[in-house]
């Protein structure tokens, strides 16, 4: 088609600079909403139940959810690229089983830990490679990873394996005690360290920014010359690594390895990430949001405990919150368009 006309002389508006329409930064709204929710829930608990304001309640949130926090951080990376990782729960099962078995066989803890982390990373790498090179959907590829990991765990041992390794039991007992009954476990600190590293990586490194770029528009990212394949494989590797670390933490807090560990953890992790305001389509969200999301899930369980309700109320509450946050995401993204 040839256009013999002159350059389009349409004068759409003034200089380009004035085109910008002012809008409060929509990216922060979901995180702020999660934070408010957390505060409201805590206030509700504090008003309704005795001893809820005890500092141990908050510290226990971190201690009890350390493994979930680590897994959710890995999931955050994956979801930021617009992907999903269903294998994390199964990786927890596999790594805890492998660790327990190796320890039982007399391997030193100093060897078992890197081996187990390596296994998680390699599984993630494999899934990432299949997703990237063969264009298999993340949902399906990580589903295969999930079957594989849980299957390997079951093949190794169907029963719960107790861990008696001294190093394991001693770090299980490691904690910083502020006053009697008020402590934070070593594992919670590990989880917080992972959070800190992840936050730095996402905000300050090329890799982190590439994650956002791919989630925003993978085709553009490719045309901009970003290493899309490497980054995509990287996030799944990272998620596998985090899941393995989560499995280690799980095996340490329970001093056992079991193929049934971590059932449904992938759902909790996804829920935490979503409630934390990370856009499931990718490209927007913060690790801090994920932390808040994990705390919300933990606080729900705490409140259900304090109210001596059955645990199914917690599932219902998580479902309702998921709904609320997904609708919120919908509204925010619609406005941004």
């Amino acid at each position: 088609m040839i256009d013999v006309s002159t350059t389009p002389a349409t004068n759409k508006s003034g200089p380009a600079s004035r085109r910008r329409t002012y809008r409060p930064n929509a990216q922060y709204i979901p995180v702020l909403a999660t934070l408010s929710l957390l505060i409201v829930m805590y206030t509700f608990g504090a008003v309704s139940y005795e001893n809820f304001t005890h500092p141990s309640v908050i510290l226990n949130l971190f201690t009890n959810n350390a493994f979930l926090l680590v897994v959710a951080v890995g999931m955050t990376f994956v979801i930021l690229t617009g992907g999903i990782d269903l294998s994390v729960g199964a990786v927890i099962a596999m790594t805890s089983t492998v660790a327990a078995t190796l320890l039982q066989a007399g391997w030193p803890a100093g060897v078992v830990i890197p081996v187990v982390l390596l296994i998680g990373g390699v599984l993630g790498l494999g899934m990432g490679a299949v997703i990237h090179f063969f264009k298999v959907e993340p949902f399906i590829a990580t589903l295969a990873g999930m079957f594989l990991a849980r299957g390997i765990a079951l093949l190794i041992n169907q029963n719960s394996i107790p861990i008696t390794n001294e190093f394991w039991t001693s770090i299980a007992e490691t904690r910083i005690v502020f006053e009697p009954g008020v402590y934070i476990s070593g594992m919670a600190l590990v989880a917080l360290a992972v959070v800190a590293v992840a936050a730095v990586v996402l905000a300050w490194t090329k890799f982190g920014r590439n994650v956002y770029a791919i989630g925003g528009n993978a085709d553009s990212a490719l045309l901009m010359g970003l290493p899309v394949g490497r980054t995509r494989i990287g996030v799944y590797t990272l998620s596998g690594f985090c899941a393995a670390l989560g499995g280690l933490i799980y095996s340490i807090t329970t001093t056992s390895g079991y193929a049934g560990h971590g059932t449904g953890t992938e759902l909790d992790a996804i829920a935490a990430v979503v409630i934390g305001g990370v856009l499931l389509t990718g490209g927007s969200g913060y690790v801090l949001g994920t932390v808040l999301g994990v705390l919300v899930l933990g606080l729900i369980n705490t409140i259900v405990n304090f109210a001596s309700l059955n645990s199914w109320w917690a599932r219902m509450a998580i479902g309702v919150l998921l709904f609320a946050f997904i609708v919120l995401q919908r509204l925010v993204t619609r406005k941004a368009k």
Partner: protein, 342 residues
């Protein structure tokens, strides 16, 4: 057209044949079907019986996936449906009353329909991504199931209810018959009417479909309702088979098996063209895998690993890139050959 179907179904069929051959070689009497007390017995029959809930769920899943959606909540719906039925039957003064059981079954299916409507509402009206929208019910549904049963496992002793999952009619297992009837109805509904075409069109391009005057929203709601109904019936079969409602284990992970069955059957997760025959084949393949692994002597735990291998092999076989890679290695680049008039 026929050729395309053939190549699409070739892999799952080949896999099924290999599996059955393995079973034939390694397990004695695998294909022995005998009639006992007027009922069919034998491993193949067991496979069919075991596959009935999966086939049902996968049929609904196929329709959902054909519109470009996905339904993660089917397992939870199964649990809710079983819980509802057992709750009502448990409260009957006479658990063997056929009328009472019928009411329970209808109530369970009605509740499933409501859940499907909810999913459809989220996806079609609020415009939430299907994977996320159905995640909500997947998480909350099991809570709902336990809420219905007050957190207990409700055991029922109802012979009419037992028939659904474990009974026989004319020597054939009722659950298999139910799955076959639902399959037949779905095939008729989609291929004898224009439903199949319109669903495929919505999945192929929602925007173009709207501009062609297709009420995509209505069809979207419809497929989620159908999917939930199928899951509800599957939940009844499951709970009838074990004579109890178990909110935790009913339909656990079945959504993944069902999606797997659909993908194996050659329906792309991105929507569009679907094949109910392929899905059924996929579901049978998965059920055979589970059963055969046992009869061949592979520990049941290993079936998961096996499944993983199957998923990987099938996905790679269907991946154009992978095929191209294999192709390139064995033959020189087919540059000149690709010249076909458009």
């Amino acid at each position: 057209m026929k050729k395309a179907m053939k190549s699409r179904l070739m892999w799952p069929v080949a896999m099924l044949v290999v599996l059955l051959l393995c079973a034939l070689i390694f397990s004695d009497g695998f294909f022995d079907i005998r009639i006992q007390d007027g009922h069919l017995f034998g491993t193949p029959v067991n496979i069919l019986r075991a596959s009935a809930p999966l086939v049902l769920v996968a049929i609904g899943m196929t329709l959902v996936i054909s519109t470009g959606g996905i339904d993660l909540s089917v397992g939870s719906v199964m649990a809710v449906s079983g819980a509802m039925a057992c709750l009502i039957i448990g409260d009957l003064s006479n658990q063997n009353s056929v009328g009472g059981v019928a009411i329970a079954v209808l109530a369970a299916i009605a509740l499933s329909l409501v859940l499907g409507l909810w999913n459809g509402f989220l996806v079609a009206v609020l415009g939430i991504q299907p994977i996320i929208a159905t995640l909500i019910l997947m998480v909350a549904g099991r809570g709902l199931a336990q809420l219905i049963t007050s957190g207990q496992i409700i055991n029922v002793q109802s012979s009419p209810y037992k028939v659904i999952g474990a009974g026989y009619v004319l020597g054939l297992p009722v659950s298999v018959l139910i799955a076959a009837v639902v399959l037949a109805i779905t095939v008729l509904l989609t291929r004898r009417t224009a439903l199949g075409l319109l669903l495929e069109s919505v999945g192929g391009s929602p925007v173009a479909s709207r501009l062609a005057g297709i009420q995509a929203r209505r069809f979207t709601v419809m497929v989620y309702v159908v999917s939930a109904a199928c899951a509800g019936i599957a939940g009844l079969i499951y709970s009838s088979n074990v004579s109890s409602a178990d909110g935790n284990n009913a339909g656990n992970l079945i959504e993944l098996d069902a999606i797997l069955a659909v993908v194996i059957g050659g329906t792309a997760l991105t929507g569009g063209r679907f094949s109910l025959a392929g899905t059924t084949l996929g579901a049978l393949l998965i059920a055979t895998l589970d059963t055969t692994a046992q009869s061949v002597g592979i520990p049941p735990e290993a079936t998961l690993v096996f499944k993983a291998v199957v998923v990987v092999v099938l996905c790679l076989a269907q991946s154009a890139t992978f095929r191209a890679m294999l192709f390139r290695r064995s033959t020189p680049r087919p540059a000149a050959r690709a010249e076909v008039p458009a």
